[in-house]
Symmetry: C2
Subunit: 135 residues, 2 copies
């Protein structure tokens, strides 16, 4: 099952990143595929420091990431916490060609940061069944 989940994550072009807003409402946002993944345990995205998501994670670091395949009816939700990384080394490691479109001032652009997600548990849905997985 872990292999199936890792394959699902690797093949997803879009991830749904969820947060909780200041009034306690759940929020969702489509993100391009993560910049880096460590099994089911850690996920890294690049994003704008000025975005609402970053503001929300500074207030409440609880998060989930949802990957799904609408054709095979498989989905996995990773649940855990987000850390906002703004150190030079991480920003350089995660930078990709073309990122200037989002961060015109390049790698040191203060509006460029990295979201580092660490999962505590996962819920996998396939074949009409859900399974909880402790990580």
């Amino acid at each position: 099952m872990v292999e199936q989940i890792i394959k699902l994550i690797a093949e997803s072009q879009i991830a749904i990143l969820c947060s909780v807003d200041e009034n306690g409402y759940p929020c969702a946002k489509a993100m391009l595929a993560p910049r880096r993944v460590n099994g089911m345990r850690e996920v890294w995205f690049s994003t704008n420091t000025s975005s609402q998501s970053v503001e929300r994670y500074r207030n409440c670091n609880k998060a989930s990431i949802y990957f799904y395949n609408a054709t095979t009816f498989q989905g996995v939700m990773l649940r855990g916490t987000i850390e906002i990384l703004e150190d030079a080394q991480t920003k350089e490691e995660l930078w990709q060609d073309g990122d200037e479109l989002y961060y015109p001032n390049g790698i040191t652009d203060p509006d460029y940061c990295v979201l580092h997600f660490t999962a505590d548990n996962a819920r996998y849905y396939a074949d009409f069944c859900s399974t909880e997985i402790k990580l």
Copy 2:
């Protein structure tokens, strides 16, 4: 813009339904297209009464529904509350051929219920810009 959003919702085959769990973590779940939509204001889904989502909405009715198009980079998040409907009339109105697959006992199956979502506000993303909309 409202027309664009209504078109986005109508063309989405999948909706991402979000809730907050008992520990305050955001949760996401892919749903087949809604059973009924009233503009951007109301959305109805059918679901299993025994599902985790229903249990969560009984504890906390704050919800969001996210529709997006990965090709055009458009997305809309509707934020509001969920009401769980189990009355015979609503269940009959929302029933569709083929639902026996999910609810073997038919329209009166106690494991079949309707989620009625009412939006308070929306956030629309298109052309790299986000817009807040009060409803």
